[in-house]
């Protein structure tokens, strides 16, 4: 079986007269909207703001580390910088990044629904996100917080004088924002699928969002109650986590990582969904082993709940629980490996083109492979002793989170940009940006693996002089990386007005979202579609296109 799909002539494409963007005007129509697409845009704007805020802190951190001496900023300022960088990037960027923007926008359309199950709850979760952002920014403006994003007790509860409670409240509220998003996705996936859209006809993007949503719904409340306890311990001063009063600081570690490890999968799974869509579309082939990829997402979600104590191998957990958690950590690595191989195999006998999203997806595959395999270093008990709490771990999770997730996010934003705005981004400059990002990333974070094995501890304001060369290299890379991130910001904004008109399906992709106008109408579908084909069925698409041509002609 083989298919040839001709891309539509984009010169003829026009913007639809009425779309979700111009159906109503005015600030109020945006701030009180129940339309998942508008809420996605609101999210897109707000998380971009927080991404650049968090990025600015990262820039200052790298600048400080240019020299071994603590010379650019004072120690407590430096500690506040990395804390704010962590809190903003984790809770206000990575967790909502793909689900709240791209997921919000395309997940209901992919399922053939008019909206998410609970539009008001969806809007509420954006407002909660904004409130969380306000708390976080006020913690920053009031003087910052220097607990590290992990809020380790008893440091955070009894030994610091900064705005811990404000920041904790911010994360608490952001947590509920993410719970509501997850809840909405799960209900939508269960109850809002169009007729004929069976579970195994859903795009893999939906599967991975479904898996991530389970983690959001079950994990986040535990973080919420933990932060409540931290706040109460600070304000009332009773020692649930304070060893001098009979409390157990390790209990905090257990509760915190019970959320924060699954949170890693909350962050990466939606990104994996993006990669599945992009790889399939630009190799014009169904994803190799659809079922395996779908179930590997669910497997990651399930195993992801039982590996949290691998953050505590050197903290005095018993040897036997260390063994069990190390074993489970090894198991959770397998589904990720399956995904990587299946994506690579998807390219086999494809008809591959190299648009920008595809370049980012290639970047993702490479960097995520490194990030994932270095995770095996850290999951191996003995190796973890030497590597944990050093720059190795910093490099590892940046490879996964920035190299993996951020690449996937950018791939997704580029991929669905024509759908969201109706206009194309400029292709040449965006390819350049993808390459710059990739190179910048490698220069920034690769030296950190070496630094980590050398033993340079994370969160260090000053370091021995023999580490300087690698740090300078890393800072230089960060500069390149920063340019790589600023470029899309500029040309995407430019394309809003000057970009070529995209048309309904510029990539000739098979998802239902590509079968409606770009930008879509408010109600998505004039009539709810009846799905009679598998996901990624390019044959069906070719027939459909021909059919349309004949009817129009």
């Amino acid at each position: 079986m083989s298919t040839i799909v001709r891309l539509p002539n984009q010169q003829d494409a026009t913007l639809p007269r009425v779309s979700y963007l111009n159906k109503e005007y005015g600030l109020k129509s945006w701030l009180l909207t129940g339309d998942h697409k508008r809420i996605a845009i609101l999210y897109l704007i707000s998380i971009t703001f927080f991404f650049f805020l968090g990025g600015a802190f990262a820039g200052l951190i790298r600048l400080e580390l240019l020299t071994p001496l603590p010379d650019l900023v004072a120690s407590d300022t430096y500690n506040k910088l990395f804390t704010m960088h962590g809190i903003i990037m984790v809770f206000l960027f990575l967790v909502p990044s793909v689900p709240a923007t791209i997921g919000n926008f395309v997940l209901p359309i992919m399922l053939g629904a008019r909206d998410l199950a609970f539009p008001k709850v969806n809007l509420l979760s954006w407002y909660l996100y904004v409130v969380a952002g306000i708390f976080t920014v006020s913690a920053l403006v009031l003087g910052g917080v220097d607990t590290g994003w992990t809020f380790t007790t008893p440091l955070s509860t009894h030994y610091l004088n900064t705005h811990v409670v404000t920041a904790a409240l911010g994360i608490f509220v952001a947590g509920f924002s993410s719970i509501f998003t997850g809840l909405n996705f799960i209900v939508t996936t269960h109850r809002m699928r169009a007729p004929g859209m069976t579970w195994f006809r859903m795009p893999l993007f939906v599967w991975s969002h479904y898996a991530a949503s389970i983690l959001m719904v079950l994990g986040t409340p535990v973080l919420a109650i933990t932060l409540v306890l931290v706040a109460l311990e600070r304000t009332i001063g009773i020692g649930v986590f304070d060893p001098s009063k009979g409390g157990d600081p390790l209990l905090f570690q257990h509760l915190f990582w019970f959320y924060s490890h699954p949170a890693v999968y909350i962050m990466i799974l939606p990104g994996m969904g993006v990669i599945s869509e992009v790889i399939s579309t630009f190799s014009r082939k169904r994803v190799f082993g659809y079922t395996a990829v779908a179930f590997s997402s669910v497997a990651i979600a399930v195993f992801g709940f039982f590996v949290w104590a691998h953050h505590m191998f050197i903290m005095g957990v018993s040897n036997y629980s260390a063994l069990v958690f190390s074993l489970l950590t090894m198991l959770v690595a397998v589904p990720s490996a399956i995904k990587i191989f299946n994506w690579s195999a998807t390219l086999y006998k494809g008809s591959i083109t190299f648009e920008t999203p595809m370049l980012y997806a290639f970047g993702f595959i490479g960097l995520f492979t490194i990030g994932g395999l270095t995770g095996v270093f850290l999951g191996s008990l003995g190796m973890d002793i030497h590597l944990t709490e050093t720059y190795f771990i910093v490099a590892h999770f940046h490879f996964v989170m920035v190299g993996g997730m951020l690449m996937a996010y950018l791939a997704g934003v580029h991929f669905w940009w024509p759908k969201m705005t109706g206009r194309m981004y400029p292709e040449a400059v965006s390819k350049l940006a993808a390459v710059v990002t990739f190179i910048g990333f490698i220069i920034t974070f690769f030296p950190q693996f070496v630094l980590g094995y050398l033993g340079m501890p994370r969160r260090y304001h000053a370091y021995p002089p023999e580490f300087q060369v690698l740090n300078v290299l890393s800072t230089a890379g960060a500069t390149v990386l920063g340019i790589g991130y600023l470029m899309p910001m500029i040309y995407m904004t430019w394309s809003l007005k000057y970009g070529a008109i995209a048309g309904a399906n510029p990539w000739q992709a098979t998802g239902l979202e590509w079968q409606i106008a770009s930008p879509p109408p408010t109600e998505n579908f004039l009539e709810i579609p009846i799905v009679d084909h598998e996901a990624y069925d390019y044959e069906w698409l070719a027939n459909k296109t021909e059919h349309e041509v004949t009817t129009v002609g």
Binding site: S244, I352, I370, G382, R459
Partner: protein
């Protein structure tokens, strides 16, 4: 080049000569750790190469110019099973190898020499059994197994010696241990790797590995005149421990001679082995460490004895073979309280190094004043 800008040139030379890529291999465990590291690196490289080859080759061969038509392939159970089982097998090898290494690093040999470490914001204090105190430094002999028994006075810290490839969290209120055998003379970095507040990055020190002879010399030269056990003995007397724990028939507290390492039955029937942590816990929370057959009358010493004082006591009790000395101390109690402060001469080891910059909310009892009622020099 150097005539162009001599300053820059010197800077570059200095920079590149100090540049390091791999940490020194200075402990017995280090070669094992490095072997495992290279194995893991190999897996990573092979995996990366494999994925890179697949992606690269397919992208080249099946690019649109050469392959205008995609061929529909559903999947292949055999292939998928292959790339599930092979990684799983490799990861299992890593798991077993890593677990062996972990058990080796965290289970100290029985004959290791013991050094106590107390971490506090933001310094490391090392207490040698012979009474040598060090701040942000640790002198150890080459070729001997050294066990560290560590505790934190405030927040989590982490004691890391990259050259030895060992690290362990230093926890408030609980002893943790790590051991190593240094194999190379020299000076190595000591880092605190767990974020512990403002001066986290200043909580560093130097590990000095000395030859046995040099170590002997150092030990003799830097003793404070009192071993930890001797300090503990004075503390034992001044806190009045001996009034109950004196080994006499009908004493109100258990006999402590030879108790270390023995198995005792607790109130409630649990049987435990007495170790450092149990001794420390008994002093601070006697009720939860109540030995069966004794009335729960022991007061808590929480907040009255510093971590150093506790170490002194633990070290004293560990070495207590008979009750002869206890009873001696009991008789000589008045005499010893007259002497205190005169013989102990290590005033420089507990400076108020960080009091100026400390920003703790809660007032922690300062060790320099409360280190064991009157035992510590003022």
């Amino acid at each position: 080049m150097h005539f162009f800008s001599p300053v820059l040139w010197q800077f570059l030379v200095k920079w590149l000569t100090e540049f390091s890529l791999f940490p020194p291999q200075a402990s017995a465990i280090a070669p094992y750790m490095d072997g495992f590291y290279f194995f893991l690196l190999l897996i990573t490289l092979v995996g990366l190469l494999l994925v890179g080859l697949m992606v690269g080759t397919f992208s080249f061969v099946y690019r649109k110019d050469r392959s205008p038509q995609a061929t529909h392939i559903e999947g292949s159970t055999l292939l998928e099973a292959t790339w599930t089982i092979i990684p799983l097998a490799l990861f299992m090898v890593c798991f077993v190898w890593g677990a062996l290494l972990y058990f080796r690093i965290y289970n100290p040999p029985t004959n290791a020499m013991n050094i106590y470490i107390v971490g506090k914001q933001w310094m490391w204090k090392a207490e040698h059994p012979g009474g040598q105190h060090e701040i942000n430094a640790l002198h150890i002999p080459v070729g001997r197994d050294v066990q560290l028994t560590m505790v934190s006075q405030d927040v989590f810290h982490s004691f890391s010696i990259p050259a030895f490839r060992v690290k362990r969290e230093v926890i408030p209120g609980r002893y943790s241990t790590v051991w190593f055998r240094a194999t190379q003379l020299g000076e190595y970095h000591l880092f605190c790797t767990q974020y512990c507040g403002t001066l986290h990055s200043a909580m560093i020190g130097t590990i000095t590995v000395l030859s046995p002879e040099a170590y002997e010399k150092w030990t003799a030269g830097s003793t404070s005149g009192q071993s930890l056990a001797q300090n503990g003995e004075r503390l034992y007397a001044s806190l009045g421990c001996s009034s109950c724990h004196n080994g006499n028939a009908g004493a109100r507290g258990p006999n402590l001679a030879g108790v270390y390492g023995s198995r005792v039955t607790l109130e409630g029937g649990r049987v435990i082995t007495v170790d450092d942590g149990f001794l420390r816990g008994s002093i601070l929370n006697p009720t939860t460490h109540q030995v069966a057959g004794y009335a729960p009358i022991m007061p808590t010493y929480q907040g009255q004895v510093s971590e150093e004082g506790l170490i002194d006591l633990v070290e004293y009790i560990k070495g207590l073979d008979t009750n002869y000395r206890v009873q001696q101390t009991l008789d000589a109690k008045d005499a010893s309280s007259n002497q205190k402060g005169a013989t102990n001469a290590a005033p420089d080891y507990r400076p108020g190094l960080t009091t100026g910059t400390r920003q703790m909310r809660k007032e922690v009892p300062d060790t320099s004043t409360s280190s064991g009622v009157g035992v510590s020099p003022q």
